[in-house]
């Protein structure tokens, strides 16, 4: 969803991985030092947003190459989070922290089959499931969402309509940072209750693929993420039960499909047309 936002406003956020990682760490620290997983989530969102601001400043404000800046953020994140984890948390004895507990939604949790699976999860999962349609609603039925979409397709048109292109892009990137931070918080506080080095393990990049596969739509991203998650679960399942099928096969499939999706569109590409292209005053 973060990737969708950012790219819809015209910025390739390769730094999602780094923002997730920062978020994961911030969540753990927030939970420990500020009292509980919800504070951890808040911390993750704030830190993720701050890193988003950094990326926005460098790539939108200064006009630096978005890819390079994003990769820089990832390196910075890996470095700083590992460093802090080892030099601050470990000496302070911070290991396991209060995390999110599984919650059962009243009534719905007792629905046969779906109940125990979908409606008995940590709160973050529910938030995610609700956030996707909310963001879709925002993007497609509010004037600000419209402004975001216009900025990513034809900044000149948005500019003429009185929309502040840079501001919208800042917003898009910061929002993607906040969301990525939340994703990181899920990793450290939603599934586990600790931070481990490089715990995102490339998920930020998988998210980029999910954006493409989901055709830059929040609900599409949800579906695509579900697909990627299912592939990962299937992979674990095959490994655990030694089924004799190469487990990499289902994992590879979503990427191949995404490539097919991209290649199948002639001329009128599905990606936001102005994604990755800097728009400055001289472009008016």
């Amino acid at each position: 969803m973060g990737g969708v936002f950012s790219e819809r406003s015209g910025v390739f956020n390769i730094g999602l991985e780094g923002m997730m990682l920062f978020g994961a760490l911030a969540a753990v620290m927030g939970s420990h030092y500020l009292g509980g997983p919800w504070m951890g989530l808040l911390g993750a969102m704030l830190v993720g947003g701050a890193i988003g601001l950094l990326l926005a400043y460098v790539s939108v404000g200064l006009g630096a190459n978005q890819i390079v800046s994003g990769v820089g953020i990832n390196l910075l994140a890996l470095g700083m989070t590992t460093f802090v984890a080892r030099m601050v948390l470990r000496p302070a004895g911070v290991e396991q922290v209060p995390a999110f507990q599984i919650v059962a939604v009243p009534y719905l949790a007792r629905v046969p089959l779906l109940g125990p699976v979908v409606f008995t999860q940590t709160p973050l999962v529910f938030i995610t499931l609700l956030l996707a349609p909310a963001l879709a609603l925002f993007l497609f039925t509010t004037p600000w969402g419209l402004a975001v979409r216009a900025t990513g397709e034809l900044p000149r048109a948005a500019d003429t309509a009185g929309i502040h292109v840079s501001l919208v892009r800042y917003f898009g990137v910061i929002a993607s940072g906040v969301l990525a931070g939340m994703g990181g918080a899920f990793l450290s506080l939603g599934q586990l209750n600790l931070f481990s080095e490089n715990m995102t393990a490339g998920r930020g990049f998988i998210a980029l693929a999910a954006v493409i596969f989901g055709k830059w739509h929040p609900l599409g991203a949800l579906g695509a993420s579900f697909l990627f998650g299912a592939a990962e679960a299937l992979q674990l399942f095959i490994q655990t039960y030694n089924l004799g099928i190469p487990y990499q096969l289902p994992t590879m499939l979503p990427y191949v499909l995404a490539l097919v999706v991209l290649g199948g569109f002639v001329g009128r590409s599905v990606a936001p047309a102005a994604a990755g292209v800097h728009y400055g005053r001289e472009d008016r």
Binding site: G63, N65, I67, G72, I73, L75, I206, L208, L262, G276
Partner: protein, 366 residues
């Protein structure tokens, strides 16, 4: 060269120095003397034989992939797929090394390298064709190809090629004739670095002194003018991409044939992504890429020593590298702005197509 020109040329150095300075802060806060930490890094990377060997080892894949990405950059293309191309190259080299026996090294090694280059090149061909044919951004396609490659290798290293009874996925050892010789005795440093350096020199000559290199630069800087001047732009772009992939593929081969002597699952810890930075820091100039690759390799190698002796985690070096990148990217962009206002500033990134230095290239803009 006047003072300003010199200052401009040294921009990457400024960026690095500032990042190093900032890096001192967390080190100091963690209770370690920053100066001592940097001393350890330097010592570890260069002062003793083992450290230097490690530096070479870590530099090699970065250099190969960095050169590959640099070639693409000169053509105005951003190749994020070096990681996948490294994997495919390593895979191809391993296949040749595992299935062919009885050939002398002089034949076996080039054969494996050729296969690796071809594999990497083919892996870059798909995004290249999608770009010139359908206008799809190579940023996205190369990224996706990475995953397919990583999982493919994972499957093969853990399945058909796997060493029987291995505790985790790796292949049987390569035929001895397919392995790269060690150049510093009793260390890991292997001949891969020599090949990479040779290629860097070769590319330097190509871009500076040949018509082919001139064509690639034209296509990257201004495809319309290039087309008018008779350059077959689409063909040139595809060729550049394929060469880019081939070089990265050689990087993978070098790891497999020189360092590990086997195909390991996940044998590249993100070299392909780090190489993006290496290539950009070197402004796409092959000889500068040697310097930046070496810088990164040295930092990583020295960081190991620093961690061993002072207990400062290696990770701080990643952070410093990240900061360097951000500063450099920002300064390149700022410099672009300055150029518009003040004539007379030379362009440090004159070797990079302006569109790549600031924004990602877009098919429409061509």
């Amino acid at each position: 060269m006047n003072g300003r020109a010199l200052a401009g040329r040294l921009l990457p150095v400024w960026a690095v120095l500032v990042a190093l300075l900032l890096g001192m802060v967390p080190v100091g806060l963690a209770g370690v003397n920053p100066a001592a930490a940097y001393e350890e890094i330097l010592r570890g990377a260069l002062a003793d034989v083992y450290g230097f060997a490690t530096t070479l080892v870590k530099t090699t894949p970065l250099l190969f992939a960095g050169l590959g990405i640099a070639v693409a950059l000169r053509a105005g293309l951003v190749n994020i797929g070096a990681e996948g191309q490294i994997y495919m190259g390593g895979l191809a080299a391993a296949v040749v090394g595992l299935s062919v026996h009885g050939l002398p090294s002089v034949v076996h090694v080039p054969l494996a390298l050729l296969a690796a280059g071809a594999a990497g090149g083919v892996w870059a061909l798909v995004p290249a064709l999608l770009k010139v044919g359908r206008g799809v951004s190579e940023v996205i396609t190369t990224l996706l190809m990475n995953y397919v490659a990583i999982y493919l290798v994972s499957f093969l290293a853990g399945g058909p090629l796997m060493e029987p009874g291995a505790p985790y996925p790796y292949s049987r050892p390569l035929d001895a004739a397919a392995q790269l010789p060690v150049i510093i005795p009793a260390t890991d440093a292997h001949a891969g670095i020599l090949l990479a350096l040779a290629l860097a020199g070769f590319l330097h000559l190509i871009f500076g002194y040949t018509a082919v290199g001139f064509r690639v630069r034209m296509a990257g800087a201004n495809p319309a003018a290039a087309a008018y001047a008779g350059v077959r732009v689409h063909a040139t772009l595809v060729a550049a991409m394929v060469a880019s992939g081939a070089l990265a593929g050689l990087g993978g081969a070098s790891e497999v044939m020189g360092l590990k002597h086997r195909l390991f699952d996940a044998f590249s810890p993100g070299y392909g992504y780090d190489a993006i930075i290496v290539a950009f820091l070197g402004a796409g100039q092959p000889l500068a890429v040697v310097a930046t690759a070496f810088f990164f390799g040295a930092l990583r190698s020295g960081a190991d020593t620093m961690q061993r002796s002072l207990g400062v985690p290696v990770a701080i070096v990643f952070a410093i590298q990240g900061l360097t990148v951000l500063f450099l990217a920002a300064s390149l962009a700022l410099q672009g702005r300055l150029l518009r206002w003040a004539r007379g500033w030379p362009q440090v990134a004159a070797t990079l197509p302006a569109a790549v230095a600031t924004g990602v290239t877009d098919p429409e803009r061509r």
